[in-house]
């Protein structure tokens, strides 16, 4: 059993509790032992690094140091924001000019640790092939939109995972569950999360664009790997609809929930009932091809030559 230190971060204690639950279950199913970092503290997130980069590095670095003390060589966090902080701590520790200050604050260096996201752990340590073999309840016939968000693969030199602009790891995992993952052009676009409180109109516009494109591609749900994306697209979907004058009704499950579903785990245990937009549509069994499935399937196969089924859009509009 592979031992991986687990840094869940604050979101997974509150709004994203279902992300935490499904992550643990899925990892266990694949024989990965998650060791929750004892006495973990806040990663510092945006406030810390905008106040003092060294403070940010030290806050995140303390967690890494504890993980190392617990004999782990890999740290996994499901939250891309935490991931960025943890990677920033490692970068600070490696920087010859800041190394001493960092070690003085944290008490030790954090060399030799690998920090990964849940997506990277599942994609690299488990793999699409193993997932495909483990599927009990194939999601065949469902069309799931892979949405990575802005931070998971960027900045490239920090993330060092997948293509920063055109990532495919989640696409492959979704396909392994039997579902269809259309080529989603907005897979790394901003959902407006930073302005979630101060400028709701930004979320309306940016989130609306993402939901709109997902709907045009025939998506039934938008699969995410970030608590903030999830919150923005799911909890605020009604607000977005109001702003965008639309009627989107797209559930926004986490990738861990989708994988859990495919593994045959009870949806309630995975916390699917915690989502604001009901994911009931995902529970339909479409493995017996009926007319409905064929219709959806045809609409979402935009072969490179013929992006069919999508309505023509707006003209040039400097906005």
């Amino acid at each position: 059993m592979k031992r991986v230190a687990y840094y869940k971060g604050c979101s997974l204690e509150g709004l994203a509790v279902e992300y935490d639950r499904s992550t643990r279950i899925v990892c266990e199913a694949f024989g990965i032992e998650l060791v929750e970092i004892p006495d973990w503290n806040c990663c510092g997130s945006t406030p810390a690094h905008s106040y003092d980069p060294l403070l940010s590095a030290a806050l995140a670095g303390r967690n890494l140091a504890i993980a190392a003390d617990n004999g782990c060589d890999m740290v996994m966090t499901p939250c891309p924001g935490c991931l960025k902080s943890l990677k920033g701590a490692q970068e600070t520790c490696e920087d010859p000019q800041q190394r001493k200050a960092f070690v003085d604050l944290v008490g030790k260096d954090v060399d030799g640790l690998k920090t990964v996201s849940l997506l990277q752990l599942l994609y690299e340590e488990v793999g699409a092939e193993a997932l495909q073999k483990a599927v009990q309840r194939p999601l065949t016939g469902h069309v799931l939109i892979p949405y990575y968000g802005c931070l998971l693969t960027r900045p490239a030199q920090k993330a060092r995972f997948d293509d920063p602009e055109n990532p495919i790891s989640m696409d492959r995992l979704i396909e392994a569950t039997g579902a269809t993952a259309p080529d989603f052009p907005y897979k790394t676009e901003c959902c407006g999360a930073t302005y979630g409180v101060t400028r709701n109109d930004f979320v309306g516009r940016l989130g609306g664009r993402i939901l709109d494109m997902a709907a045009r591609l025939g998506g039934e749900a938008i699969v995410v790997a970030c608590p903030l994306c999830q919150q923005n697209l799911d909890m605020r979907q009604k607000q977005i609809n109001k702003y965008y004058k639309s009627a989107f009704n797209l559930p926004v499950p986490y990738i861990s929930q989708i994988i859990g579903l495919a593994l045959g785990i009870d949806p309630k245990v995975l916390g699917l009932n915690k989502l604001c937009v009901s994911p009931r549509v995902l529970l339909e069994d479409r493995t017996q091809p009926d007319q409905e499935a064929q219709r959806v399937g045809a609409a979402v196969k935009p072969g490179p030559n013929q992006p069919g089924g999508i309505a023509g859009g707006e003209s040039i509009q400097p906005s």
Binding site: E165, N166, P185, I310, G313
Partner: protein
């Protein structure tokens, strides 16, 4: 020995951080130094005269100049001392500019280091011996590697001068990238109309031997006497017999072969002649797609060929050519835009590269010169051009400017308007770089007369919407985001070094930069020479270049070769290894380690074998010197005694 030391101020280049006066006065205390001075510009004419005057006045037998790197001015000073009656090897240079003054600001430390370097040079000079070069005949044949426009120009220039030229081209046709272009900027003249006659000239000149579909296997020898092995790749067609009638292509049943000439936009037959004007106009089989060569029953081409030229049993063959000089004109490749995930990573058929669009524009291209989209063959109405794809972008390892893209975009936008007057063209650019003659006027014309919309800003994303592409970018002049819906997106893919440039450089023993472009001997003053004597550069293999510059460099390289070939003999370099037969123990280690095969056995009377150096083959690397157990083999001008004298001074 009576030694004179001359310390150069190099204006303030050296004197700014080195006390040259003190270096000179210290030098006077070194053994055998009878004269020392500092001078403003030692390499200037009065500076050289000062050295010559001192030689006469003080009876100097050796000279040390402490100045810049010997790379540039060692020959200058050697000539100067030779004129004053000394042997040119009774001269030493201490580099106190690149190695001292340019790299440190501590005046005291610099001065001390300069003194040390001068002391070492003096110590070495005390063990110098006069050396004399011999003369060798020059083989007045030229090898041109690469048959693009630069190589063609160089070959024709030299052939016009009456020299024998051997041209080796990797592809089955000559003409290079220019043969694929529709029109050329800034005059919009037809590329194949101006290049075609030159290509024909190459094939018709009796003193040009053309090896197409061939590559350089190995190169040995030295300036004036290179031996080149050329691998003629199997084309499965006997080119002696092939008449280029094209019947085989017509009947070939393998219709889905890769169309390299049309950049993958069309499909070729497995046996084909890439384009109508191809030189040589000979068919070749693409083994990857040929049915017969892949174990299936076919052989149609062999049956229909009226001259029985098809030979499925053909193998690569090696030919050997003797030449005296080499011009490298291997050109460039274009950046593969699949590195850009945000531009679709190559998965959208209507997001194409500049060279693909060039083929679309060309009358001999896949669509017969009608502008259509690759995806559905529709005529595009809105076309977006994006500059700097794989140029000026450190994140993809291409921080340099490709220099040609701004111009070819303007040309393609103008041609688009000519072909489709109702269309709209948009250009996203970072900066417009158009410094050539009539270049900026040309871009202006695109903007003002042809109504091409230039938008200053980068594109962040391209994605499909319906059957069109959405180009999402920034207009940094207006400070807003813009979205343009386009039917076709053309990426101005940048220039990168030719595939295999590094391996060829190693065969030629020339250097290349971190991007694979070959290094010229001096960035300003020796632009077509390499640091290997007798090897010259032309065209984009040295760095991104447009057609006028490539042609100019082709002619420049040709003129260098002609001035070399104007001599019947060249002087050999006497700085080669020499065996002391009395101490040689005949172990043969030097023969094993010599990378140039310059050492052989020599039989003395009584059957005793001793090592012998072939001075014309020896490159003076010194590996044998370091290997020889009894130190019987010594590299002249860098003997053990000379090096130890330097080390002793440094450690004293």
């Amino acid at each position: 020995m009576r030694i004179g030391v001359f310390v150069c101020n190099c204006g303030t280049n050296i004197a700014g951080t080195v006390d040259t006066k003190r270096v000179a006065s210290e030098a006077l205390s070194f053994a055998d130094v009878v004269y020392a001075t500092n001078y403003m510009y030692t390499c200037s004419e009065p500076g050289q005269q000062e050295i010559q005057r001192a030689i006469g006045e003080h009876g100097l037998q050796g000279v040390v100049v402490a100045a810049c790197s010997p790379r540039m001015h060692e020959p200058t000073f050697r000539r100067a001392v030779e004129k004053a009656g000394l042997n040119r090897y009774m001269f030493e240079m201490a580099n106190i500019r690149e190695h001292v003054s340019w790299i440190g600001n501590d005046r005291e430390a610099n001065t001390q280091k300069a003194i040390d370097l001068v002391r070492m040079a003096v110590a070495k000079l005390r063990f110098n011996n006069p050396l004399f070069s011999s003369k060798m005949p020059v083989n007045k044949r030229l090898l041109v590697i690469g048959g693009g426009v630069a190589g063609i120009q160089a070959a024709l220039d030299c052939a016009d001068g009456g020299m024998d030229v051997v041209m080796v081209e990797r592809k089955q046709y000559i003409g290079g990238k220019m043969a694929k272009l529709d029109k050329t900027f800034p005059t919009i003249d037809c590329s194949s109309c101006i290049l075609g006659p030159k290509m024909v000239d190459v094939s018709q000149k009796e003193n040009i031997t053309l090896y197409a579909a061939s590559e350089i296997e190995s190169i040995s020898g030295y300036i004036g006497n290179f031996t080149v092995q050329i691998r003629k790749k199997a084309t499965y067609v006997n080119w002696e017999a092939c008449t280029g009638c094209g019947l085989c292509t017509e009947k070939c049943p393998s219709k889905k072969a890769a169309d390299y000439f049309n950049e993958g936009l069309g499909a070729a037959r497995a046996i084909n002649i890439p384009f109508p004007q191809a030189i040589p106009k000979k068919a070749a089989i693409d083994a990857q797609f040929c049915r017969q060569l892949n174990g299936k029953k076919c052989g149609v081409c062999a049956k229909v060929c009226p001259v029985q030229a098809v030979d499925f049993e053909m193998k690569d063959s090696i030919v050997t050519e003797q030449v005296g000089a080499i011009i490298v004109a291997t050109g460039y490749d274009l950046f593969d835009h699949s590195a850009y995930g945000e531009y679709g990573a190559g998965r959208y058929p209507d997001v194409i590269s500049g060279i693909q669009y060039e083929r679309i524009l060309s009358a001999s291209g896949p669509y017969g010169g009608h502008i259509r989209r690759p995806s559905d063959g529709k005529e595009p109405k809105d076309i977006v051009f994006i500059s700097c794809v794989g140029s000026r972008d450190a994140s993809v390892g291409r921080p340099y400017c490709s220099g040609i893209c701004c111009m070819y975009i303007a040309k393609q936008a103008i041609l688009t308007r000519d072909h489709l007057p109702e269309s709209n063209s948009y250009v996203f650019y970072m900066d417009i770089r158009s410094p050539g003659k009539n270049y900026d006027e040309f871009v202006r014309r695109a903007q003002e007369e042809y109504g091409v919309q230039y938008i200053r800003g980068r594109v962040g994303k391209i994605y499909p919407r319906g059957d069109r592409m959405v180009v999402q970018g920034a207009d940094t002049l207006l400070g807003v985001q813009v979205e343009v819906e386009a039917d076709l997106v053309v990426l101005a893919t940048g220039v990168e070094s030719s595939a295999g440039a590094g391996e060829l450089a190693e065969k030629l023993r020339i250097s290349y930069d971190q991007y694979g472009f070959y290094m010229e001997s001096h960035p300003k003053l020796r632009p077509v020479e390499t640091n290997t004597a007798g090897v010259y550069l032309a065209g984009a293999c040295q760095g991104p270049k447009d057609i006028p510059s490539s042609v100019a460099q082709g002619s420049a390289a040709a003129s260098k070769v002609q001035s070399l070939f104007a001599h019947d003999t060249i002087e050999t370099n006497p700085q080669v290894a020499l065996v002391n037969e009395r101490t040689c123990i005949s172990c043969g280690k030097c023969i094993q380690v010599c990378p140039f095969g310059a050492i052989q056995w020599k039989e003395l009377r009584g059957g005793i074998k001793k090592a012998e150096v072939l001075p014309t083959v020896c490159q003076g690397c010194g590996v044998c010197n370091a290997t020889c157990p009894p130190k019987a083999i010594q590299l002249q001008h860098a003997t053990d005694n000379q090096i130890l004298a330097e080390v002793n001074e440094l450690c004293a």
